[in-house]
């Protein structure tokens, strides 16, 4: 199904938004992604990913929360939509289902 699939980086961003709840916007999402994945990302990558996710309907956004630190400009705060939750769950289930099918012996036994 085109448009509903989640890319790996997209999934990271979605998860970060989930963690942050009410405080998910560009910079904070970037921080979370960097914190958990341990890899550097640029703001513009995060931005375009968030916007793509919004287009797909997984996120919704509103403006709010201006601070002085931002030169008085408001943030775009993201929230996961129900569609987003659903697709996150699907992704998770898909993985666990596939995990289940990896033969245990092969996996835990080390070298084949």
């Amino acid at each position: 199904m085109k448009g509903t699939s989640l890319g790996e980086f997209e999934e990271l961003c979605l998860l970060a938004v989930g963690i942050l709840q009410e405080d998910a916007y560009g910079v904070s999402v970037k921080e979370q992604v960097e914190k958990y994945s341990g890899r550097k990302s640029t703001l513009s990558t995060i931005h375009s990913t968030l916007i793509r996710l919004e287009k797909k309907g997984f996120l919704e956004s509103r403006m709010g929360g201006a601070t002085e630190l931002r030169g008085g400009r408001t943030k775009r705060i993201f929230r996961i939509t129900s569609l987003g939750k659903k697709s996150m769950n699907e992704a998770r289930e898909l993985r666990s289902r596939m995990w289940d099918h990896i033969p245990k012996i092969l996996w835990e036994g080390g070298a084949v």
């Binding site: 916007y25 560009g26 931002r70 030169g71």
Partner: protein, 871 residues
């Protein structure tokens, strides 16, 4: 600490390309990241990171939707192809435009770099708050301006004026004798600075603690370049050099100053300064003697400016005595003003007047405009050739806006190619300009302002040149265009072309008149009688004032048959070597005072330099070598200052000088000679014998066997001053130094005006070629009816010649005003005669006939059958 803010320019760039609905959050996020960076690491990195982020934000999804961008890619390619084709088809016209634009753009780029260079002078930390104390000294005749102040000034300000911030005082010596490793050298520009020098002017210190060094007597900092000269690669720290009679330890290194009015090679601590560095005058603690002392300060805030100046006035009241209490006043000159203000400048500092920069920029802009005019003229004239193409495009649905886009794009292509060539040309020119003007301009493609400037130039020029022709073509009615109803005869725009061509003539004529007047003024100066004989005179510095040594030197020199006269004094008649002081005299029983220049001379001075005596006698040898009695010779200006008409009447009158209250009778009057350059009027001058101030020898030679004579002079100096190096100068060279700046400006003027005339000619050439092409039929028919060749040439060129004449209505008055202003800088100048204007008119007429004539002639002798056969 101020909170850092992200660069506003970068933010604006972001808002320029970014979609409105995205900009808010992106700006906010970037600002947040910037502050985080700025606090966790340094600000510079934060700025770089910010710029990088903005660059990364340049993504398709973030871009504004430009309405104009709807032109499809295929159409764009088609535009480019047709543009290139059309340029190739009209090769001659394209080349004319290309050359014109390249020259025009080069001159603008060049002026841009030159002006940017001049404005980058004296960039210190907080340079907006740095000031120099300057002296205004009133005398009867005029106000005298100087950047030299009494030596105790800095200490007085530091101790007595609150809110003056950091203050530094220093002595500046143009040349000092330095001995190291038994080798003697002259080191230029030696500063004796007090310990706050580096706090006011933050020159880069490479090693050593400047504050401590400048507090300790006998220590100095050296520039890295000077260190290379004196010590080579070796570490300069701890080395001892001998400066005059002092042993100086090098304790620190500064990097050589660049682009500053305050050039130096050595900074010696102020406590080292003694009277041996101030010509044995006891000036260091004196308020009444002004030699080469300077005082700079860095105000904590510019709000203090007025209050500090007010307090300076109180210092005058407190420390100055006598008439100086009323006549002297001190002001603060902004550091940023020093490089551009000639008023306070020493002769050794080259300032650049803002007028010069204004002339440079306007002349280069004019050249650019001339090139643009060519472009507009040729393209509107040739619009008929593109009419059919425009018609077809319109029939196929092109809107006027799209047509404009297409033709502007064409001009952009040409402009871009020209701009790239212009950069190359500028790059080629700069080294020549640098050696010629003694500057260090560089073209730097990584420089922001240069890149932004040239981009702006590109956009402006391609719009300026391309928009009107494009607009005109876009307005064609499709049907009429396809019926070939547009020809250059029926086209509008002829009026505009006439106007533009006359405008070109206006500019060319102004430049020609300017060049002519500058040229004749400089010739006038070079040939003006200076009031003394300047041929075959050599001047050389004296290294001691010891009378036995001087006598010995004189006798050795005079033994040679080709050395006619030898004279010692403060300096040649026209030189910067004189002292400013005042003298008092009795005028109708009132004691009056006047400011004068004082020149010290000896009994042979008049004969050596060929001064002309008007009355009385010159100082005789009996008065000079021995006597303690003072006798004075004055010049005509001094006579006038005393209010006496007949020189005989002044002989025997007693006068008293401001210096040391020396008094004595006037024994002679000489005809005026130029004491300073011809930029200045001849000041009242008094000459006396005063061997303590004999610093220069003047030698009148026969002019025969010059090399041999020079050898004799050198060996004479060698025998009297074994420790010194002789540096002699020919008087003519010395005099040339005064006008070298004017000469250089003349040459620049020449180059610029010929460039502009050349471009204008190119345009005329193209225009006339086109007109003839269009008028071929007319010419053919006229010839069939018996018109003579000359008549045809006449028809073709009268209009242009009329335009040339019409242009004078504007160009003459403008040129008159401008040149009058330039000439005001000279006290002695040529009159602006009608001759220059008539000559300029003739030259432009000639040039027009020259560029039009050949084509017109060729057209006039053509066989009419060849033209009319096809009809």
């Amino acid at each position: 600490m101020d909170t850092p803010t992200p660069s506003r320019i970068l933010t604006r760039i972001l808002s320029w390309f970014c979609r409105e609905d995205r900009i808010e959050e992106i700006e906010g996020d970037l600002a947040e990241l910037f502050f985080e960076r700025a606090t966790t690491s340094n600000i510079k990195k934060a700025h770089m990171f910010y710029a990088w982020n903005i660059l990364k934000a340049f993504q398709w999804s973030n871009l504004k939707k430009f309405t104009q961008m709807k032109t499809s890619k295929g159409l764009l390619i088609n535009y480019i192809i047709t543009s290139v084709r059309s340029l190739r088809r009209n090769r001659v016209y394209a080349l004319i435009n290309y050359f014109g634009l390249t020259l025009g753009l080069s001159s603008v780029l060049f002026a841009f770099i030159a002006i940017q260079y001049e404005y980058s002078f004296d960039r210190f930390a907080e340079s907006d708050n740095i000031y120099r104390v300057v002296l205004h000294k009133q005398d009867q005749a005029k106000m005298n301006y100087s950047s030299n102040v009494p030596y105790p000034m800095a200490t007085a300000i530091r101790n007595e004026i609150q809110g003056a911030g950091k203050v530094t005082g220093f002595h500046y010596s143009e040349m000092e004798k330095v001995k190291y490793d038994n080798e003697l050298r002259y080191v230029n520009n030696v500063v004796f600075a007090d310990s706050e020098f580096f706090e006011v002017l933050n020159f880069e210190v490479l090693s050593g603690n400047p504050k401590r060094i400048l507090n300790s007597p006998g220590q100095a900092l050296i520039t890295d370049e000077m260190s290379m000269v004196l010590f080579g690669e070796a570490d300069p720290i701890g080395r001892i050099i001998k400066l005059a009679d002092e042993n100086i330890e090098i304790a620190g290194v500064v990097s050589s100053p660049t682009q500053t009015h305050l050039d130096f090679n050595l900074i010696v601590s102020y406590p080292t300064l003694s009277s041996q560095f101030t010509a044995d005058f006891d000036a260091i603690n004196s308020w009444s003697m002004v030699l080469s002392g300077y005082c700079y300060l860095k105000l904590p805030s510019n709000d203090n400016l007025q209050s500090v100046e007010k307090r300076l006035y109180q210092l005058v009241q407190k420390y100055h005595e006598g008439t100086e209490k009323e006549n002297n006043n001190y002001y603060l000159q902004a550091l940023n003003d020093i490089h551009f203000n000639k008023r306070y400048a020493d002769p050794r500092i080259s300032t650049v007047s803002k007028d010069y920069l204004l002339i440079l920029s306007s002349v280069s802009l004019f050249i650019m405009i001339i090139a643009c005019i060519n472009f507009i003229n040729l393209n509107t004239a040739m619009a008929s050739r593109r009419a059919r193409e425009a018609g077809v495009r319109k029939v196929l649905g092109a809107r006027p806006g799209q047509l404009i886009n297409q033709f502007v794009l064409e001009s952009m292509i040409l402009t871009l190619v020209s701009l790239l060539s212009a950069m190359f040309v500028t790059w080629l020119i700069l080294p020549f300009y640098n050696t010629f003007m003694n500057k260090e301009l560089v073209i730097s493609f990584s420089d922001h302002t240069f890149l932004i400037g040239s981009t702006a130039l590109f956009v402006i020029v391609s719009l300026l040149a391309g928009w009107y022709p494009a607009f005109m073509i876009s307005q064609f009615k499709a049907i009429r265009a396809l019926k070939s109803e547009y020809s250059s005869v029926t086209l509008k725009g002829a009026g505009l072309r006439k106007f533009l061509v006359s405008f070109q003539f206006v500019i060319s004529q102004i430049m020609i008149i300017g060049t002519l007047i500058v040229f004749s003024q400089i010739e006038f100066i070079r040939n003006k009688d200076l009031g003394f004989d300047q041929d075959a005179i050599i001047t050389a510095p004296l290294f001691s004032r010891d009378s036995t040594e001087l006598r010995k030197l004189k006798s050795i020199l005079l033994q040679h048959k080709d050395i006619k006269h030898v004279s010692f004094g403060l300096g040649a008649p026209t030189s910067n070597n004189d002292l400013g002081t005042s003298f008092t005299f009795t005028n109708k029983e009132n004691l009056e005072e006047a400011n004068i220049r004082l020149k010290t001379v000896d009994n042979d001075y008049m004969e050596t330099y060929g001064l002309r005596l008007l009355a009385g006698q010159w100082l005789t040898s009996s008065t000079t070598w021995q006597s303690k009695k003072n006798e004075f010779v004055i010049n005509e200006s001094a006579l006038n200052a005393m209010g006496i008409e007949n020189p005989i009447d002044v002989i025997g009158q007693n006068i008293e000088l401001g210096i040391n209250h020396m008094s004595g009778p006037i024994i002679g009057v000489v005809q005026n000679f130029h004491v300073r350059s011809l930029h200045e009027e001849i000041p009242p001058t008094v000459m006396l014998y005063f061997p303590r101030l004999h610093y220069e020898a003047g030698l009148k030679i026969s002019g025969l066997n010059v090399p041999e004579t020079l050898e004799t002079i050198e060996s004479a100096w060698q025998s009297v001053y074994p420790d010194e190096i002789l540096q002699y100068t020919f008087m003519d060279d010395l005099l040339d130094q005064f006008y070298i700046q004017d000469k250089k400006i003349l040459l620049l003027f020449n180059i610029f005006s010929w460039t502009s005339i050349f471009i204008a000619c190119l345009g005329l050439f193209g225009l006339i070629a086109f007109t003839i092409h269009q008028k071929m039929l007319e010419i053919g028919i006229r010839k069939v009816f018996g018109a003579k060749s000359l008549h045809i040439i006449w028809i073709l060129s009268t209009r242009l010649l009329l335009l040339v004449c019409a242009a004078t209505i504007i160009s003459f008055p403008l040129a008159f005003v401008a040149m009058n202003r330039w000439l005001e800088g000279f006290a002695y100048r040529v009159d602006i005669s009608p001759f220059y204007f008539i000559l300029a008119l003739l030259i432009t007429l000639l040039i027009t006939v020259g560029s039009v004539g050949y084509r017109a002639f060729k057209a006039s002798i053509i066989n009419p059958i060849r033209i009319l056969r096809n009809e």
